[in-house]
Subunit: 258 residues, 2 copies
Amino acid sequence: MSPEQHTGPARRIADALRADITEGRLPPGMKLPAVRDLAEQYGVSRNTAAKAVTILLNEGFVTTRYGSGTYVRAAYPIRRLGPERYARSRWAVTTVVVGDGRQTASREAQGDQTQTVDLIEADEETAAALDIAAGDPVYRRARVITRDGQPTHTMASHYRQADVEGTPLTDPSPGIAGPGGGFWRLAEQGLAPHTVTEDLRARMPSKEEMALLGIGAGEPVVELRRVMRTEDGRPVEYAIGVHVASRFVWSYTFDIPD
Amino acid sequence: MSPEQHTGPARRIADALRADITEGRLPPGMKLPAVRDLAEQYGVSRNTAAKAVTILLNEGFVTTRYGSGTYVRAAYPIRRLGPERYARSRWAVTTVVVGDGRQTASREAQGDQTQTVDLIEADEETAAALDIAAGDPVYRRARVITRDGQPTHTMASHYRQADVEGTPLTDPSPGIAGPGGGFWRLAEQGLAPHTVTEDLRARMPSKEEMALLGIGAGEPVVELRRVMRTEDGRPVEYAIGVHVASRFVWSYTFDIPD
DNA sequence: TAGTGGTCTAGACCACTTC
DNA sequence: AAGTGGTCTAGACCACTAA
């Protein structure tokens, strides 16, 4: 059942290097010995040394730069996500001026976000969430959220076209949304979110997600689907996020129902 | 950044097999050709064929059974976990008679569970959760929950010794707890759970978890930490669960705070 | 140009399952 | 005993980076 009946040289080398990393002898950013050197040091073939590095890569301890070297990955802090992150008191329109302020078409660095806005036709799932018909037009605002220079998650918000048409939410320029900004803008339309439903599942990333989030093949992601509703129960936002699992904990508190 | 500068034979074989799986030509449970056969079919070395299989393993499309073969992973139904699973109306003491009713020491199949009970000293974390001192005695009731013959998650409940001493919760025999049974027993002690706090994080499984849950190296798990409190806010249960990620979705609904 | 990561081959041996 | 997955070696070549 378990695929580790052997404990060959590759695992032993990986274990040694991992210990060097977790115990601080190889600090974040430090370059590891070249695969050829590792092979010589440990008296194994190049293949085996490379496999040891691959193990650490998959575990997320190192990143490799083609043609440059293998580097210890920074140990990022874990962010705790509770209901308070949606608190009304945090809604605000953050204005961030980036660089010289010039815009580059529909894609723009915005503080810690990069975002695009499209008008698309709702697929079955989005339509069901927003209580509209499949094929109806929806605005999708997609962004990659970064922290300490590393992507932590993607988030794609979907709105009914009529709900946001003509508002800043359809404008991909910087300074529009930011954390909580989307909720503020909805509130301005008389569509203030009141209740949230979040569905979470964990899985392995696709190749595209690996590239977008800068993670290795061995690092899981958490997919979050969120529906925001007004006090009347009318859906106003459907968002899909893909989070690097190792950077988050989700926390929920609720009363036991009858 | 991306590890796919090359598109060598290994990836091509993996792509072909993945397509066979996703398009139904290789249905769930089906055995893949042996690595040696794949190598011959595609005219590559055994190493390369094995690497192709490893790619699919990491992506979660197949599982490998040492000495037996490589199999397309079964698609199990996904269970949705919402607050209603804790509903008072579902609390009950389920009595299940297993086999001929004979017991085997402290380990006993119980319907769909296998459980053990120990009296241990609380570690820092358990102590903090149960609001006691580290080293204080706690009962730990650990079980593996199975569905359709496959383990889906483990769950280890911790109780203050005084809360459950002398109750059936310290008895590992069958017919004691079952789903909701633990809450019922606590309620009998005047310690009915009222609020729940759940923390979720996703990660890759340890070797032990892989064996216990019957999953391969490419399948993530979700670790759930749950604290149950009475209406007074007094903690009565601290539970740690490890779930096979692909078999669950967690769902939470709450109001936006001020 | 030199250094580094990524991949492949051909052959070998080991660990485990199945019969 | 036969079949299968897992690992290792020794050598080779390719793709990319940095000076």
